[in-house]
C-alpha cells in the first residue's frame, strides 16, 4: 500500500514539474539571446488552451492516428512511475526496470513514427524516417551506459543503482562515471530532440525532426503529444540527476523532514541539469543531418570507454 502511495506521489511530482523544466530551458536560452522570453509557466497555459480546443483529424487517417497521443502519453506516464525521484521513495523496484523504462519510451516513439506515416503527408514521413535513424543510432550508447552502471551496482533496478551511486559519494571524479555521464548528456540531447541533433523551436521543412511528426496534430491530441515530450525530458533528466549527481547521502536526518530536504535537493539538481542542457544548446549549432552519426559514435565511444575503464580497474 505504501509503495503504491509512493509511486503516485512521484508520478505527480514528475507530471507537475515537467512543463516547468521545459520553460526553464527556454527561459535560459532567451536570457542568452538578450530576450525577455516567455514566462517559465508558459507551457501550462499553452496546454490548457490546447486541451479546450477540438482536434482536426484528416479523413484518410486510420485509428492509429487517433490512438497514438493516448498511447504515447500512457507509455510516458508508465515510464514516469519507474524512475524514483529520490532514494527515499522506493517505487516498487524490480530487476530490469531500467530496460523497461527505455523500451517504454521506445514504444511511444514507435507509435509516433507510424502515426506520422499514417496521414500520408510528406513531412510526417520525412520526420519519422529521421527520428528512426537517430533513435537507432543512439540506442547502443544507452544500453552500454546503463549496463555499465548496472554491472557496478550489481543490479538492473534503478533504485538499487541509485543507492549504489549515493554510496560512491562523488561519481563525477571517477573515470567510469564521468565517461558514462558525458554519454548520457549526449543521449538526453538526442532523445529530447535538442539542438545539436534537432531544433525544438524550428518549423523549417528541411531541418525539423520531432516537430515534423507532430505537424498533423492539433487541439487535445497536440497537447497530449507535447506534454508527453516534456515528461519524457524530465524523466531522462531525473534519471541522470539521481544516478550521477546523487545527493541523498548528504541528508543528515530521517523522517518527513529528510524527505522534504531530499525533494528540495532533487529540484535543485533538475534546475542545474536543465541549465547544463540550455548551455549545451546555446553553445553549439545544429548539426548537418549526416553529421549526427559522428555525434552518436562519440556517445557510443564515451559509454564503451566507460565500460572499459570499469573492466581495467575491476571495480
Amino acid at each position: 500500500m505504501i509503495a503504491i502511495i509512493n509511486n503516485l506521489i512521484q508520478l505527480l511530482v514528475i507530471l507537475l514539474l515537467a512543463p516547468m523544466v521545459d520553460g526553464l530551458i527556454k527561459k535560459s536560452k532567451a536570457f542568452s539571446q538578450k530576450r525577455q522570453g516567455a514566462p517559465i509557466l508558459q507551457m501550462y497555459y499553452d496546454l490548457f488552451k490546447l486541451i479546450k480546443k477540438d482536434s482536426v483529424v484528416s479523413e484518410t487517417a486510420s485509428w492509429i492516428f487517433k490512438a497514438t497521443p493516448y498511447i504515447v502519453f500512457s507509455t510516458t506516464a508508465a515510464a514516469a512511475l519507474l524512475v524514483p525521484v529520490t532514494t527515499l521513495l522506493p517505487a516498487v523496484p524490480f530487476p530490469g526496470d531500467i530496460i523497461l523504462l527505455f523500451y517504454l519510451l521506445a514504444l511511444g516513439r514507435f507509435f509516433m513514427c507510424i502515426s506520422a506515416l499514417d496521414t500520408g503527408s510528406t513531412f510526417g514521413g520525412m520526420g519519422s524516417s529521421r527520428e528512426a535513424m537517430i533513435s537507432s543510432l543512439i540506442e547502443p550508447s544507452i544500453l552500454v551506459s546503463i549496463f555499465t552502471i548496472g554491472l557496478i551496482a550489481g543490479s538492473t533496478s534503478i533504485h538499487q543503482m541509485m543507492v549504489t551511486m549515493a554510496a560512491v559519494g562523488n561519481p563525477l571524479f571517477q573515470p567510469v562515471f564521468i565517461l558514462t555521464f558525458l554519454a548520457m548528456l549526449i543521449i538526453i540531447l538526442a532523445e529530447t530532440s535538442r539542438i545539436p541533433v534537432d531544433d525544438p523551436a524550428t518549423h523549417l521543412e528541411l531541418t525539423m525532426v520531432h516537430e515534423a511528426m507532430l505537424l498533423e496534430y492539433s487541439g487535445k491530441h497536440l497537447a497530449l503529444m507535447e506534454y508527453s515530450a516534456a515528461v519524457k525530458q524530465l524523466i531522462l533528466i531525473t534519471l541522470v540527476a539521481n544516478l550521477f549527481l546523487p545527493a541523498d547521502q548528504l541528508i543528515p536526518f530521517a523522517g518527513s523532514g529528510g524527505f522534504l530536504l531530499s525533494v528540495a535537493l532533487y529540484f535543485l539538481r533538475v534546475v542545474l541539469l536543465s541549465a547544463m542542457i540550455a548551455v549545451a544548446e546555446i553553445s553549439t549549432v545544429k548539426f548537418r543531418f549526416f553529421s549526427i552519426p559522428n555525434l552518436a559514435a562519440l556517445a557510443f565511444i564515451l559509454s564503451f570507454l566507460g565500460f572499459l575503464q570499469y573492466f581495467i580497474l575491476g571495480r
Partner: protein, 218 residues
C-alpha cells in the same frame, strides 16, 4: 591522489578521441591545446606533490615548459603556418568519422590486452593510467595516417609526443629533468622544420594535400 590521475588520464584519452572526430584544422589545433593544458595540469599536480614530499622543483619546471611550449607557442606557430598556406575546403580524411572513432576504440582494447600483461604494471591505478596514455600514442599514429593534409599530420606527431610524455610520467611519476628537456628540444626542432616544409610544399604544389605529392614537379 591516484583517482585524480585516473580522471586526468581518461580526459586526455577523451581529448584525443575528440581530436579524431573533428574535421577542420583549426579545431585540431584547439583540441591539441586543450590536451596539452590537461597534460600541464597533470604535471603540475605531480610537481606540487614531489615538491611537498622530496623538495625537488624538476617536475614543476617541466610543467612550466609544457605551458609555454605546447599550450602557447606551438599552437600559435601552427596557426601561423595555417595562415600562410592556401585555404581550400576539401575532405581531409580517408575513412568516414564514425569508422575512424570505432577503429580508435579497437586500438584502446588492443592496448588493454597488450599492456595489462606487463607484470611490473600490475598495480591497479598505474595499469589504468598506462593503458589510457599508451592508447593516446596509438591514436596519434592512427590520426597521422588517417589525414591527408600535412598540417593534420603535424598534429598527429604532436599527439604521439604528448602520449609518450604522459606514459612516461604516469609510469615513473617524474622522469629525470635532462631527459624531458632533450625530448622538448627535439620536438620543437621537428615542429619548426615541419612548419617550414609545409609552407614549401604549399608553394611547390599549391596544396598541402599529400595525395598531390605524387605529381612530378621540376
Amino acid at each position: 591522489m591516484d583517482s585524480y590521475f585516473d580522471l586526468l588520464s581518461v580526459l586526455i584519452l577523451l581529448s584525443s578521441f575528440i581530436l579524431v572526430s573533428h574535421k577542420r584544422i583549426k579545431s585540431y589545433i584547439k583540441t591539441f591545446r586543450i590536451q596539452s593544458a590537461l597534460i600541464a595540469l597533470t604535471a603540475g599536480i605531480m610537481g606540487f606533490h614531489s615538491l611537498a614530499s622530496e623538495g625537488s622543483l624538476d617536475i614543476l619546471l617541466v610543467c612550466a615548459i609544457i605551458i609555454l611550449l605546447k599550450v602557447i607557442y606551438i599552437p600559435r606557430l601552427l596557426h601561423k603556418t595555417y595562415g600562410n598556406v592556401e585555404y581550400k575546403v576539401e575532405k581531409d580524411f580517408f575513412l568516414n568519422i564514425p569508422l575512424l572513432i570505432i577503429i580508435c576504440c579497437a586500438l584502446v582494447v588492443f592496448t588493454y590486452f597488450s599492456v595489462s600483461g606487463i607484470s611490473s604494471l600490475s598495480a591497479d591505478h598505474i595499469n589504468l593510467q598506462v593503458v589510457n596514455s599508451f592508447s593516446v600514442i596509438l591514436i596519434g599514429f592512427f590520426f597521422m595516417i588517417s589525414r591527408k593534409k600535412a598540417l593534420g599530420q603535424m598534429i598527429g606527431f604532436l599527439v604521439i609526443e604528448n602520449g609518450i610524455f604522459v606514459t612516461a610520467m604516469f609510469s615513473t611519476h617524474g622522469m629525470p629533468f635532462i631527459v624531458d628537456i632533450g625530448i622538448f628540444i627535439d620536438m620543437i626542432t621537428a615542429i619548426l622544420i615541419m612548419g617550414i616544409m609545409v609552407v614549401q610544399i604549399n608553394e611547390k604544389f599549391e596544396s598541402i594535400n599529400i595525395n598531390k605529392l605524387r605529381n612530378l614537379k621540376g
